[in-house]
Subunit: 335 residues, 2 copies
DNA sequence: CTGAAAGCGCTAACAA
DNA sequence: TTGTTAGCGCTTTCAG
């Protein structure tokens, strides 16, 4: 059994209350006593039991981060951002992965009901089609911040980039490079990010005066093999396609793999642009043009908002809708 | 305030003890009572306060994962493996990043002293040069499993791959491809993995009858810019070098970037092989030959061992030293 | 089968 | 300045 406040009390012939106050540097304890207590505490390597204090003053100094996956560089970097501010604020970070599965998301959120965490950062899964679990959490007044993949119908803080704008820029870029028929690889159309990126795509096509024949939205799957097959079928079937937008990183790398297999030359036969945070996009063959989100920044901002809400009870998360711009990095895949 | 066991008791005119037992499906409660309790619990969406139970029966159903970083595909995949078994076992996962900083590692481990977590999975930072913090944790009987980057002087479970063998295979591969002077890019020579991989490198060179002139170990840094500069200086300075082994993923991608800048042609002028889990290694320019560790598997195995220890008090972690083989994927960077 | 009560480690109101 | 005590929500004897 580890050492507790009681042991210190016994050792120093003081009451537990005195010890507790001394450790908190309370003004009602004499300097000498504080000294003695602190000294012994250090000596015995005392650390308070976190759960006992949680139980008392309701507050776990812990937040939850719920992510679809971690194998995507966006989420890796976002975790980095989140963890960096959590560590600074003395908070602990519970990480949960939904693996893009709606049911998992539901069962994960159930665990947050009873004080396990003080707040939640969430990027929703691509298969989430209904938001009761989120409403429930929200109604229980759990501080909640969405990042990247938000749920629009929940009225709380959201940190994202202007996806419509980004989708527009990506499409415009391909059009300027001479593409006539651009396929938009979509992950799941319920997803806020996909919806908006697609909107930008549609806007750009319309602006260019292209009709519906030139519009091509390809629904991919959260399962990798399935997506691969879908992309392959599309590229094989319609050799008119001369541009591809990968709405998430994975779909772009898959497109590369498919092109390898089908001996389609990028960028000569097909130009590719992707929403991606791959640091090595420049080292791909050919180097990949990307729309890059400020992933670390998004994570950091979301976490900062959450902590602000945790620190000040009157801070209003509802008012916070932060948008951080994405950047276009032009590389050889669209040249 | 959320709903507690007391509320159920009041509502049903029962004692809290009865409720508690009913919820645990105790044999000493009548079926009817159980029924009533369970029904109301579901209705009111009751969930036990995790910290209250932790406080009672000591056990947090939480483990800690301590990693150097998460931007490396090895660690991303390892988290995946860990999280998958944790979720299955009903455990929660606290993630901590050291960012390769010794001091952070120390301060993170301090937090585990008093029951916050039931066990720890750890891959040590590259700047960790002294192991008191680990010894302390170990002596407090915290179940501890090292994965990938282990600390040899702590006598507990370790899950890794045979790095010596892998280093040997990598070097042998380059030699077979005709390399005469192979640089080994090392991350930090204290690190178990680096040490072993380097040992394999040395062994292979010796076996090939090469002398010390042909041996070249380049110490890189945990700071990216510094490493880049170091690699650049080496490749610029000694044009004899015709092979490079990246002992960690980042060093290999940096080598690619450096070669880009210096207009060194891979594989014609320089062959590159790397310890890496990049799923897109095949899409690099040129595709990268890798020694790939079973990252997901390592994470999963480490977590499984830990849970076994948590579930059976007599399970002996000391006895467990698991080695999972790495695989060589030959690609164009060494052709 | 059900309930009363003690206590996990800590904090905070109230006494002394 | 220090100590006493109640209680956070739950589990677990031990009595009824």
């Amino acid at each position: 059994m580890s050492i507790g406040i009681k042991d210190l009390a016994k050792e120093l012939q003081l009451s537990v209350a005195t010890i507790s106050k001394a450790l908190k540097d309370s003004h009602e304890i004499s300097p000498e006593t504080k000294e003695r207590v602190l000294k012994l505490a250090k000596e015995l390597n005392y650390t308070p039991n976190p759960y006992a204090s949680s139980l008392r003053h309701r507050g776990s100094k812990t937040i939850a981060v719920v992510l679809p996956e971690v194998a995507d560089s966006f989420f890796s970097m976002a975790i980095n951002g989140i963890e960096s501010v959590a560590q600074e604020k003395g908070y602990h970070v519970l990480v949960y992965l939904t693996h893009e599965q709606f049911e998992r998301e539901i069962s994960i959120l159930k665990d947050f009901q009873n004080g396990r965490v003080d707040g939640v950062l969430l990027s929703i899964s691509s298969t989430t089609c209904e938001y009761n679990h989120l409403h429930k959490l929200y109604e229980e007044n759990m501080p909640l911040v969405f990042f990247d993949r938000v749920c629009e119908e929940i009225n709380t803080a959201k940190v994202q980039t202007d996806d419509t704008q980004a989708g527009y820029v990506a499409t415009k870029h391909l059009l300027e490079k001479g593409c006539k028929k651009i396929a938009f690889l979509s992950m799941n159309s319920n997803l806020s990010i996909t919806k908006h990126r697609m909107q930008g795509y549609v806007d750009a096509l319309k602006e260019a005066g292209l009709n519906d024949t030139q519009k091509l939205v390809v629904e991919c799957d959260s399962n990798d093999e399935v997506s691969y097959a879908i992309i392959k079928r599309v590229l094989e079937g319609d050799r008119q396609i001369d541009g591809v937008i990968g709405s998430v990183e994975k779909l772009a790398t898959m497109t590369y793999a498919v092109c390898d297999e089908l001996l389609i030359k990028i960028p000569q036969q097909l130009k590719v642009i992707a929403f991606s945070n791959l640091q090595i996009a420049g080292l791909l063959n050919p180097s990949l043009t990307t729309i890059t989100q400020p992933a670390f920044e998004i994570g950091k901002t979301a976490a900062t908002l959450l902590f602000r809400a945790l620190e000040k009870r009157n801070f209003d998360l509802k008012a916070e809708h932060i948008s951080i711009p994405s950047l276009l990095f032009e590389r050889k895949s669209t040249s």
